[in-house]
């Protein structure tokens, strides 16, 4: 009965829509076998992808790339649940990857269909069951050069926490953002990088309380940190290295340190029920090769997971990248999987941490 009503309601909506459709010029184009729809973050980032990966991929395979933007977990879940999967492939950061794979929203990557030689060149960490981490990105200690300099700036998280030695305003991620302040807080409190996980959240909050008076903003978007440093609103922060380095190159008064940077992967993932699964795999394979990735990281300074990419780069270009050995050894790999772990209560560490964050924020 309800179904019938639902159906009738749907018909009415459809009728309404039909009336509106009279005004509509560009109807949705049906996809054929020769396309792959790829969603990314838009802006300059997507411009880079287009130039280095999408166009060369189209030329090499004849498969047309349809671009999309506006990635959000909620949208992916809605697409999968309605079986109206608009995208064949999208980019996601590890925290998103784990939430999505846990809720069964992703297609398994059929590694049997991917070229063994190319995949063999990849960092094994990058080859996850539901996604391929084709790039790495880092969050690093960043500072305004109006206040600090190459010689005089905090080099470790303990020094970032040292308000006497390095006075100034801090800008850190909020506890309910995709980049967490918990790992820096524990490192600052003296936890050894290889003993970080499982995170002691209570200890992390005690550490956060120490730096809180100097934190002017707990951000929930990554563009906020670089902008605050450029505007001299904050002096020291946790910034995305790609953007910080880009701004530095463009003449902004900011700089960063690779030491104790936090590095993690950026995945290609396929939403469950994607219409062009095989084309998506073909694209992943293409985008995992050293040469196109080298072209990409010349434009966007991310770390290639395929080590052969370095063969196509000059010494100067290599030195900018997070996975360049000299930079990599100073950094610490994040373990997003811990965040997705679920205990007996059915809640993940991420969910528990969000509740703790809300309590911490409101008790002040």
């Amino acid at each position: 009965m309800t179904r019938k009503i639902g159906h009738r309601l749907s018909l009415t909506v459809a009728a309404l829509a039909a009336v509106l459709a009279v005004f509509d010029a560009g109807q949705a184009v049906a996809q054929d076998k020769g396309t792959v729809t790829i969603a990314s973050f838009g802006g300059k980032f997507q411009d880079g992808l287009r130039k280095a990966l999408f166009k060369p991929f189209e030329e090499a395979t004849g498969i047309k790339v349809v671009e999309a933007t506006g990635i959000s977990l909620a949208k992916i879940k809605a697409m999968v649940m309605t079986q109206n999967v608009e995208w064949d492939l999208f980019e996601c950061v590890p925290s998103e990857y784990y939430v999505l794979s846990q809720q069964n929203m992703l297609e398994k990557i059929d590694y049997g269909l991917l070229d063994k030689t190319i995949m063999g060149q990849m960092d094994p960490k990058a080859l996850a069951p539901y996604g391929v981490g084709f790039l790495s990105f880092s969050q690093v200690i960043s500072y305004s050069t109006r206040k600090y300099s190459k010689e005089n700036h905090p080099h470790t998280w303990a020094e970032v926490w040292d308000l006497k030695k390095y006075p100034g305003k801090r800008i850190l991620p909020a506890g309910d953002y995709e980049i967490e302040p918990m790992e820096p807080a524990l490192l600052a409190d003296g936890v050894a990088p290889d003993k970080l996980y499982p995170l002691d959240l209570d200890r992390a909050y005690k550490s956060l309380a120490k730096i809180k008076p100097a934190v002017i903003k707990w951000v929930t978007s990554s563009s906020a940190v670089p902008q605050a440093l450029v505007d001299a609103e904050a002096d020291i922060g946790l910034g995305a290295v790609a953007r910080i380095a880009q701004l530095k190159a463009e003449g902004a008064a900011i700089d960063f340190d690779w030491n104790q940077g936090l590095i993690t992967s950026d995945y290609w993932a396929i939403p469950r029920g994607a219409k062009n699964y095989r084309n998506a795999l073909k694209f992943i394979e293409f985008a995992s090769q050293g040469k196109p990735i080298a072209e990409l990281v010349k434009i966007l300074p991310f770390g290639p997971s395929n080590r052969t990419a370095f063969d196509y780069l000059t010494a100067e270009e290599k030195a900018k990248l997070p996975t360049y050995p000299e930079n990599l050894e100073k950094q610490i790999w994040l373990d997003p999987k811990w965040w997705a772990d679920v205990d007996g209560s059915g809640r993940s560490n991420l969910e528990k941490e969000h509740a703790m964050w809300n309590a911490w924020v409101t008790q002040q």
Binding site: V13, Q27, K44, F45, A78, E250, A355
Partner: protein, 569 residues
């Protein structure tokens, strides 16, 4: 009469109640029992605290909008037609920019090295820069800036129908200017304060971009928490349950407000006498001192057209300046030569304008945005006006419930509606189509139209319309010929708000625009994960310039028509 409600009700049932209802049902189907999420919310002290803070913040914003907006509306009322239009244009200018750009402009203005701090330090008022950005103050400033037009225009719509001869009569009978204002004019304008206030209050509760960008930990709002549940934890049941809590508490608050103050904000004529009483009480307190002083000298004045108190004039000038301040930031920003947002720019160029015109991924969304916003505006008016009439004039049971239902989408987090709609639109293949976007935007535009038009209708004298009908005019014709001209200003502002609801929307667009119906706000929002593209400053400046040019042409045409003895439009 209820028949007039039918189109609006049908629309909202289909594109609001059914999709959102579906999600709410999902909030009851948790593995641990139907009320497990509600129990969780009930016992989480932090959530209640955030809810309380959200209402306090919305209350502060509403109060400030009232304090600044009332004098502005009053000055516009008594000013000449031409000044009225000029003030209106100035107040509406920033509306052409994305909320994101406006938030950035406030960051530049309020930052430690920002213009406000520079001025304060330069004048010797403070020793060092103050921390203004990322505080409560910054959020309130940002929100008031966005919300002020939503207060001023409904209020002006009501004020315009106050018979100013009543004020003159009071003065001729010996009342001073100030007591005439507070005893006669002010109570008559209260319904406008009520409808503008409720509009601002409701919108401020649901707004999360500005608090997220400009505020600190104390400005975390309930909608921000709902957003995190939906988007990061993908816990939709919890998000739906939280939305129910927000919706219910807001409706209760609005109900108590309308009962207490008796503004009849929810229902047409509910408890008007009480409203007049409390209004008069406030007025009496306020006016006590001034009327005492003025008792000796009685001044008789003509109808106060063309004059306003210096205080009102001063507040209006300051408010208009406040409204224009961010524009003064992003005009220079749009000509910046630097590859990133930097103020003041170290060099100047036209590169961002060139970038805008060179790229189809900027131009195409501009066209889509205008198309969708115009369609939304037209349809929202067609459907919303009859609904407002039905509620204002209806003598049937459940008018209050209808009003609650018609305004509910304004309080529901847009993200919840968007998720719900996605399920329905996916089945109907409406994702990525213009009709789909228009339907979605109608949901957010309709409450604005209803609230504004209703506020206007409440004060309109029905007698001419009844007279016309008794003389044999068809009810529709009677309405069009008598009442409609009277509420024209409110209709215009309702239409404008409807246009804006669509033109400024990011959330619905991110969800429903697919790969081929991208809108301008969605395009502006893109890439924000990594950087803010200065092209947004160029687009905003272009839209502002365009609106100024169009309105100036209109102004010139009007003046020519007036000179020839025609009627201004």
């Amino acid at each position: 009469m209820p028949l007039l409600l039918a189109p609006a009700a049908l629309l909202l049932i289909l594109v609001y109640a059914v999709p959102v209802g579906g999600l709410l049902v999902s909030s009851l189907s948790a593995p641990g029992g139907p009320f497990v999420f509600y129990a969780q919310i009930l016992h989480d002290r932090a959530l209640w605290l955030v809810l309380g803070r959200t209402f306090t913040l919305a209350g502060e914003v509403t109060l400030l909008c009232a304090l600044l907006g009332y004098p502005v509306a009053y000055v516009m009322l008594v000013a000449s037609e031409r000044w009225q239009r000029i003030i209106a244009i100035l107040i509406l200018l920033p509306i052409w920019t994305s909320v994101l750009v406006r938030a950035y402009a406030w960051m530049v203005l309020l930052g430690r090295t920002g213009l406000v701090n520079q001025a304060l330090v330069g004048a010797g008022i403070v020793d060092g820069p103050l921390q203004i950005l990322y505080t409560r103050f910054a959020v309130v400033v940002g929100l008031v800036h966005v919300m002020l037009p939503y207060f001023v225009f409904p209020l002006l719509g009501v004020m315009k129908r106050i018979d100013l001869r009543l004020v003159a009569a009071a003065q001729s009978l010996g009342a001073g200017r100030i007591s005439a204002f507070f005893f006669v004019f002010f109570p008559l304008g209260l319904p406008g304060v009520a409808s503008g206030g409720i509009l601002v209050f409701i919108l401020a509760i649901g707004f999360f971009v500005t608090p997220a960008l400009l505020g600190g930990l104390g400005e975390i709002t309930y909608v921000m928490l709902i957003e995190t549940q939906i988007n990061q934890l993908m816990n939709w049941g919890m998000a739906a349950a939280m939305s129910v809590v927000l919706l219910a508490t807001t409706l209760i608050l609005v109900f108590i407000w309308s009962k207490l103050l008796g503004f009849g904000a929810i229902r047409g004529e509910a408890a008007m006498p009480a409203g007049r009483r409390s209004g008069r009480l406030i007025a009496r307190i306020l006016a006590a001192t001034s009327s005492l002083r003025r008792r000796r000298r009685v001044r008789v004045r003509q109808a106060p057209r063309g004059q306003s108190h210096w205080l009102a004039g001063g507040v209006t000038a300051a408010t208009v300046l406040f409204i224009l301040l961010p524009i003064l930031i992003f005009f220079p920003l749009s000509f910046s030569g630097a590859p990133f947002l930097e103020f003041p720019p170290s060099s100047y160029s036209l590169r961002w304008y060139a970038n805008y015109f060179a790229r189809a991924d900027w131009l195409a969304p501009t066209v889509v945005s205008f198309e969708v916003a115009l369609l939304t505006m037209g349809l929202a008016m067609l459907v919303g006006m009859p609904a407002a009439i039905a509620v204002a004039r209806g003598r049937f049971r459940g008018v209050g419930v209808c009003m609650g239902f018609l305004t509910a989408p304004a309080i529901t987090p847009t993200l919840i509606i968007a998720v719900g709609l996605y399920f329905q639109f996916a089945r109907l293949r409406l994702i990525g189509t213009i009709p789909g976007l228009v339907l979605a935007h109608l949901v957010i535009a309709l409450p604005l139209v209803v609230i504004v038009v209703l506020g206007a209708l409440r004060r309109v004298d029905e007698a001419p319309e009844r007279a016309a009908r008794s003389l044999g005019a068809h009810p529709v014709r009677a309405f069009l010929k008598t009442t409609l001209p009277l509420i024209r200003p409110s209709i215009l502002s309702a239409a404008f708000f409807a246009f804006l609801a669509s033109f400024d929307d990011v959330v619905m667009a991110l969800f429903l625009s697919g790969t081929n119906a991208s809108t301008l706000p969605k395009r502006m929002w893109e890439g924000v994960r990594l950087e803010i593209d200065p092209t947004v400053a160029a687009v905003s400046s272009l839209l502002i310039a365009l609106s100024v040019v169009l309105l100036s042409i209109n102004e010139i045409v009007n003046r020519r028509a007036q000179r020839k003895g025609g009627v201004p439009t």
